[in-house]
């Protein structure tokens, strides 16, 4: 087949002085890789903001009403540096909001989705480069709204990231900014998901059939479908709550409730309606936050096991099953919300069913490891960490899917333990593994292995020290500024202090990552095209790839996991290689 040189027809190469070059390269960027890096850097910055908020939450739980270090005297000088209970509510609200909407979703779908999809399916860019640019631009109004909200009364939205009305409707103005920010994030994700779907369906290289796509692309594909279907519901609900706040409508407000001596509301609304609409998006969002990570982990584990991914098709089907079932399980967040109790039974069954495809994935990852020739590099360690932590998060999910058990653990620290095992110990470990794995492709240099392994070890130990003991706090309600006001919880103080110390350790550990990231960016060992001897298409081009991605049009001849194929000399068999 003729080799076709890819023409760069999307944007002209930037010309002119430094400022205009910068603006054209980084502001009006239509190159999917630049946009991916924009998402990566902004998410990492927010990751540290969200982390600080989490540490402040932990500070209050370990040493309640003591002087907050550094910020205490800036914000609460009149009370001697101790935070107010409203401020505490802001802390966990904004921690969750930032981590979910500004870190995990944008870093998975925005950063890795943008960076990898085109490279992995062999396209020159995304299907809609300008829509892609817009999708990053729409993050900025959200950033501005959230930053502004920190300067509103109570220093930000404080109704929990779930924002249940009527409380959220009677919150300060920061809540309106929060709602607006979420609308902007939603629009950004929507644009991204349309773009990913079109790119994956339309822009694949010759020979790249759907079942020759790497799991990363499958994860992004299914995630994009979920976003496209679930986001409109959230956006509608957000606008309804906004109009309840600003236009005095009553979508979520029943008759005759009065808060803070205000007049009784007009009413006519349903409080539970918000919860249904919110969780109809936010439960699929849980899978939006893990499926891409599962895809990337599958690729990385297969590469470093030097072995084909065990059960590629069952892996694809199980991702699809998780996504499909993910739309009919939202009621398990509402077992004790006052929702019809018979309905809880059906949500329980669908929730338990989701354990099956998740189990299939775990077993297949173990099947991939088994009999391999494992190279325990930093990305591999993070991914094996992902799998073992996901087992814990998944199993505690089964525990709480049982409605009678959920009566006890609902809205307690057990839930906090579960969600952090899934979102932090799984998704974030997967993301970190993916950063270590694709860093050579992104910046053309290797990250430091020794620092990477120290980073993994300390993160792994501290995260278990922080989150595992939370399983034992199943009688300590979450979102309570001072749990020790209850006689029955006073004995939990030492355990909470232990967790806080581990959390601080985990926060400090991330500085190793920052140091490694930036020093490797400038001084790391040069990476060639394919430092890990991997099969997928992105490793056939130079590191970092130029605008337009490939110097020659890749022709795909086989699946992405032909490691240690008996007919080849070496232990990998790139997708483009002629046999």
């Amino acid at each position: 087949m003729a080799e076709v040189t890819v023409e760069n027809s999307i944007t002209p190469e930037p010309k002119g002085n430094v400022v205009s070059r910068f603006v054209w390269t980084y502001v009006f960027a239509t190159d999917h890789k630049v946009i991916g890096l924009q998402f990566l850097f902004s998410s990492l910055i927010w990751f540290f903001v969200g982390g600080f908020l989490a540490l402040a939450v932990r500070w209050q739980l370990a040493w309640p009403w003591s002087d907050m270090p550094i910020f205490g005297h800036m914000l609460f000088a009149e009370s001697g540096g101790q935070m107010s209970p409203g401020f505490y509510n802001m802390l966990f609200t904004m921690h969750a909001t930032i981590m979910i909407f500004f870190v995990i979703i944008p870093i998975l779908a925005g950063a890795f989705g943008n960076y990898l999809i085109s490279l992995m399916v062999g396209g020159e860019d995304m299907a809609f480069p300008r829509l892609n640019m817009m999708s990053y631009w729409f993050m900025w109004p959200a950033f501005v709204c959230i930053i502004l909200s920190f300067f509103m009364p109570e220093y930000g939205a404080a109704a929990g990231w779930t924002s249940y009305p009527p409380l959220s409707v009677f919150q300060g103005d920061a809540q309106s900014l929060w709602l607006l920010a979420m609308v902007f994030v939603g629009i950004s994700s929507m644009m991204g998901s349309i773009n990913y779907l079109t790119t994956i369906i339309q822009m694949r290289a010759p020979g790249m059939t759907m079942f020759r796509m790497p799991m990363t692309v499958w994860g992004m594909f299914i995630t994009a479908i979920m976003q496209a279907f679930a986001l409109p519901v959230l956006t509608a609900a957000l606008l309804m709550q906004l109009s309840d706040r600003l236009l005095m409508t009553g979508f979520f407000l029943p008759e005759n409730i009065a808060v803070n001596n205000g007049v009784a509301t007009s009413g006519g609304g349903q409080v539970l309606l918000w919860q249904h609409l919110f969780w109809f998006y936010s439960h699929p969002a849980v899978y939006i936050m893990i499926l891409p990570a599962m895809g990337m982990v599958s690729d990385i584990i297969s590469c470093f096991s030097r072995k084909p991914l065990f059960g590629y098709r069952p892996m694809v089907y199980s991702i699809t099953a998780i996504a499909g079932l993910g739309f009919i399980v939202w009621g398990h967040h509402m077992f004790i919300s006052g929702m019809n109790h018979t309905l809880a039974m059906s949500f329980m069954v669908s929730t338990m069913l989701i354990a099956l495809p998740s189990g299939i994935k775990v077993f297949n990852w173990i099947g991939t490891l088994w009999g391999g020739k494992l190279q325990l590099t930093t990305p591999m360690l993070f991914c094996v960490g992902f799998v073992s932590m996901f087992v814990i998060g998944g199993l505690s999910g089964i525990v709480m899917s049982a409605p009678p058990v959920d009566i006890v653990i609902h809205d307690t620290y057990y839930i906090v333990a579960h969600l952090h095992y899934v979102l932090f110990a799984s998704s974030v470990l997967g993301v970190l593994g993916a950063i270590y794995f694709w860093f050579p492709k992104m910046f053309g240099r290797m990250m430091n292995e020794k620092l990477g392994k120290i980073h993994f070890f300390l993160t792994f130990v501290f995260l278990n020290g922080t989150f595992f003991p939370m399983h034992f706090l199943s009688r300590m309600p979450r979102r309570v500024a001072d749990p020790y006001i209850y006689e029955g919880l006073k004995d939990l103080l030492p355990l909470n202090q232990f967790m806080t110390i581990c959390a601080i350790g985990m926060g400090l550990t991330q500085l190793i990552f920052v140091a490694n990231f930036f020093s490797s960016m400038f001084f790391g060992a040069k990476a060639g095209r394919n430092p890990w001897n991997a099969n997928t298409l992105e490793w056939t081009t130079v590191s970092p790839p130029p605008h337009g991605n490939f110097d020659v049009q890749p022709i795909v001849r086989r699946g992405p996991y032909e490691y240690s194929h008996p007919s080849t000399e070496c232990d990998f068999f790139p997708q483009t290689e002629t046999s």
Binding site: G86, N89, Y164, L167, G172, D173, S176, E255, N256, I257, A258, V259, N260, N261, G262, Q270, V271, L272, S305, P308, G311, Y312, I336, M348, M352, L353, A355, L356, G359, I360, F363, G367, L369, W370, G371, G372, L376, S388, V391, I398, V399, A402, P403, V405, I407, V408, F457, F468, F472, L473, R475, P477, R479, V480, G488, D491, Y563, S564, H565, P566
Partner: protein
């Protein structure tokens, strides 16, 4: 170094299971960490489920993560052989096995727990009077408000929300050894009624009426927690719950009748009533800025 990482992963199931068992069987330092001692029959059933599912999970955790650690130990590349990794792409029989076995376990779990859920949330107690069976009338009407609990005991007529209700704030005294039904409503935002010892939790949603029922087997002083974020004072929304003997309870109720004259006027003029009852309360809240709400009032 490879051995080090395999040991690290092997430690996960070992420490995980050890701590689960310690919490379950009350071994220090986790002896009091998990759930407090159950006070009711329904709570015991939930505990059995809770412990049973945890044991099962611990077993599965051990199996999977141990296999991961062992695979790392066994199959790490130590650079001492030129042999390639096993080339295996899939195994349909294995896939079916590890789909069907968990499916059977989950179906069993799903059916097994339905009874407990029904007992706790669906089968509201009934009484039969003169051959007519009806729901057992609630003994107390719980009104949740920011940031406290109001309890209205049914007076002599045995019906809540009438003129002779007995009002008590942030203290619920109930007879032990009897099936008790509470009716719950919210005055403002969502609250949640949580008593860990009774394994009882129910959100109280404005605009809806909830019923809970329980039967405490011993006399004990415990606490009611609010487990749904209801504003800045959410953390201090607690009430005492005292289970006493029937005789003590009757004496206490008499005491309350003389001590406090309730003015519960239901449905008369709801909006005005709510404003009245919130007045003292709002004084405490005046330091919190509510610019938007002010806008609404003006």
């Amino acid at each position: 170094m490879n051995r080090f990482w395999s040991v690290l992963f092997l430690l996960v199931p070992v420490l995980g299971i050890a701590s689960v068992l310690m919490a379950m069987y009350g071994v220090a330092p986790l002896e009091s960490a998990w759930l407090p001692k159950s006070l009711s029959q329904a709570g015991d059933t939930i505990d059995q489920l809770f412990n049973g599912i945890h044991l099962l999970s611990a077993f599965i955790l051990a199996g999977t993560v141990f296999t991961i650690g062992w695979a790392l130990w066994r199959f790490s590349d130590r650079g001492d052989s030129n042999e390639k990794a096993l080339y295996v792409t899939h195994n349909t029989k294995l896939e079916i096995t590890w789909t069907v076995i968990p499916a059977l376990i989950l179906i069993f779990l799903a059916f097994f727990q339905m009874k407990s859920w029904a007992e706790n949330k669906m089968d509201r107690p009934t009484v039969t009077v003169d051959g007519v069976t009806d729901f057992k009338p609630p003994m107390v009407m719980v009104k949740a408000k920011r940031f406290g609990w109001e309890f209205y005991y049914a007076g002599d007529d045995g019906v809540v929300e009438t003129e002779d209700d007995i009002f008590v704030e942030n203290l619920l005294v109930l007879p032990a050894g009897e099936e008790i039904v509470l009716q719950m409503e919210s005055r403002d935002v969502i609250h949640s009624f949580y008593v860990p010892e009774l394994r009882l939790k129910q959100d109280i949603v404005p605009g809806m009426t909830q019923f809970v029922w329980f039967n405490a087997r011993e006399e004990k002083e415990i606490e009611i927690m609010c487990t749904e974020l209801c504003g800045w004072g959410h953390y201090m929304m607690k009430a005492k719950l005292n289970f006493v003997s029937r005789a003590q309870f009757d004496a206490w109720i008499e005491e309350q009748k003389s001590a406090y004259s309730p003015e519960f006027k239901n449905e008369a003029e709801p909006a005005a009533f709510l404003r009245e009852s919130n007045k003292s309360f709002s004084a405490k809240l005046s330091n919190v800025a509510r610019p938007l709400l002010k806008l609404k009032i003006n």
